[in-house]
Symmetry: C2
Subunit: 421 residues, 2 copies
């Protein structure tokens, strides 16, 4: 961990900088994969499965019976946990459904907006060291609430918890493919895999590059991705052991995970450092965590106002406000993905089960992007309906503006209706 | 116009295909411009202004007095029209502000979402044949309602109506620069131009390519862009003169504008064709319009169900339902940007003043994207607060899931709090 004491404001940007990956090299490797799937469909998918994942696949689709029976392979405890998380996440996301509000902007001119679920969406769940069934819930639940008609899932993992979570959220089809080729399959469609309109989900740099590349061809993606990160705000009321546990729960994700501690109390920083060492040694993923901590930063500042300014500049994916006055501090935060208030709200609760979504903007994107929500799975289509009286009321305005923009046909569309009616 | 009679479903995709621009050539020209602005800031902007726009600029910023006095240069009629549009658009967009709803997902576990305006946003308004002051309203009003703190505008145009609209929506600074270099300036910041977190607005292919390129570097953009388009649904109740006026008001935008007519009545198609010829000859922009009509399509189908299916496949930016049963038809539309209901609701009313936003997804993007709204200018930050009781309730679930995902430190963050509290 690197330590800073009241750094100059001009140095903040440098201190808060995230390490950047060179995406150009990766794009160079991903483009041929995308093109192969676009041109040769399933055949290319089979080749890549053999080449990259060393599996010989005839059928990509997971049989329905395997999905239906997945619950039998889980402990009762885990099944109950997934069900409880499903309940909490559903309850919170259900409040994100917007109702139709009709507005008469002028007499006879009515406008409204209707949320309509994206018809076909695709979810990607990586394989790798951890079976991310929680992400199946986090992406599947809002899709289900949004009313998406076809929700498909691609994953190289065949972990029963992934299938079980998928069955809860109404995922209609699961395909056992991974990597950039899975993204290509969902973006372009193949003989076996249906094309979708929007692709969600985490992945390695190849998957991230593939999502970014296909998004230039008209397929939408959830958001740009980067390594996961947490920032913790601490003061003299904070508990160093709790803070250390939060920093480690982020750091264990991977060597590139980002951890930032901003404290108005130097002794809390010192004691957190000690706690980190104690807690680290017992972790199964301590190699990842200690690598990640090397790149991480602890900043001491004189006062909470400066701390807030730094945190807003950083724009953390997860922000833990570990102080007695957390709710007050939260009022001044304008850039963050998700905020965890007080000493007893660790990030891991939001990662799994508090109810909020864990797919959040990393890499400072929280300055412009929101996390995934029901909004991410709908289009808000606008409507307008104008009566004869309405057209009389609004006509003059439209004609004057259209003519001032030199768009005569726009004006004519109103004039011809006013004349002939 | 090309005519189709009950085309085979397998041919729909081909018939509904939009002409695609080769973006790679354009990217090759835009990348050096972006890099120059990134590296040399204002100096590069001055060079490009001289090279591309043939103007020698010392100061890019438009003096406040020029903005404040812009209203004096407009006719009273136009000023009144802009004010009326401002009023209608504000009224509709004000309903898009979401309030905070706190949910207790389990006893002691509270979650909520708060909309926070993006701090710094940039709006681009192109120069060219039409001064798009209406777009200043369409982008500025939701930014103003969202509570964005700094709204800047870049435009090569110095049309007073643009400045007047800007003054209404609270745009703080206007810079007289255009093209890809203006997008670069807002994305990276220069000595004169502040860096923003999200860039909005239309433009030519260079601007579009620039927006797409900077979006890979962490700056958000409103949405991918393509030529404007309208689809009209007609049946025996439709008025061919009205339909022709709508098709022309889209076609006059540019030679690449897209126009589609789907009708369950062949005679309406024939009479619309006649009306197009009559109305076209009087248009100042008839060259654009007739070019655009050449690539446009009219499809006759037997029944409204097929028409709806085709329209959902096309996913039009603007969809006019020019029939007596328009509201009923609208219920079945799942893919569209904005829908215009009935015989007396021309697209041009939505373009200027009905209240809905005219920045909408083109090119079939309506399958996955919404038009611009207040949502586009906020981040919805999530919050959670857990009490001691709440942590006891949720702890078991989080620990079971974290351990099943092999993330021990995630589990520890809960355990340590349960033990020490």
């Amino acid at each position: 961990m690197q330590f800073f004491n009241n750094p100059d404001k001009k140095d903040w940007v440098k201190i808060l900088e995230r390490p950047t990956a060179n995406m150009e090299d990766i794009e160079g490797k991903v483009i041929p994969v995308l093109n192969a799937v676009k041109q040769r469909g399933d055949e290319a998918l089979r080749e890549f499965a053999l080449k990259f994942d060393n599996i010989l696949l005839n059928d990509f689709e997971v049989p329905v019976e395997e999905i239906n029976k997945s619950g039998e392979k889980l402990s009762d405890e885990l099944k109950a946990a997934i069900q409880q998380a499903y309940k909490n996440i559903s309850k919170f996301h259900a409040t994100q459904v917007s109702s139709i509000v009709k507005v008469e902007t002028m007499a006879g001119v009515s406008c409204w907006r209707k949320s309509v679920g994206i018809e076909k969406v695709g979810i990607y769940i990586p394989g790798g060291t951890a079976p991310l069934f929680s992400t199946v819930l986090m992406l599947g639940i809002p899709a289900q609430i949004a009313g998406c008609k076809e929700i498909i899932l691609c994953s190289p993992s065949n972990h029963p918890a992934i299938y079980y979570a998928a069955s809860l959220v109404g995922i209609s089809r699961i395909f056992r493919i991974g990597g950039a080729q899975a993204i290509a399959a969902m973006a372009y469609g193949t003989e076996s895999i249906p094309r979708v309109s929007k692709i969600f989900g985490p992945g390695n740099q190849f998957v991230t590059a593939a999502k970014q590349l296909v998004s230039k061809e008209g397929v939408a993606i959830d958001m740009p991705a980067g390594p996961s990160e947490v920032a913790v705000y601490a003061d003299s009321s904070s508990n160093p052991a709790f803070i250390a546990s939060d920093l480690l729960s982020q750091a264990e994700h991977g060597a590139d995970s980002q951890v930032l501690l901003v404290s108005t109390d130097q002794s809390i920083i010192d004691r957190t450092k000690e706690e980190l060492e104690i807690q680290l040694i017992e972790l199964p993923r301590k190699e990842f965590a200690s690598k990640s901590l090397e790149n991480s930063k602890a900043i001491f500042v004189d006062n909470s106002a400066t701390a807030i300014e730094i945190l807003n500049e950083y724009a953390a994916e997860h922000l833990i406000l570990a102080s007695d006055d957390a709710e007050e501090i939260a009022e001044s935060i304008i850039n963050a993905g998700s905020i965890f208030i007080g000493h007893l709200t660790p990030e891991s609760c939001g990662d799994y089960a508090s109810g909020t979504n864990h797919t959040l903007p990393t890499n400072g994107y929280a300055k412009a992007y929101s996390g995934v929500s029901v909004d991410s799975f709908v289009r808000k289509i606008t409507f307008q309906k104008i009566t004869e009286k309405g057209l009389k009321n609004i006509g003059k305005t439209v004609i004057a503006m259209a003519e001032a923009e030199s768009l005569q046909a726009h004006a004519n569309a109103v004039k011809i209706r006013l004349e002939k009616k």
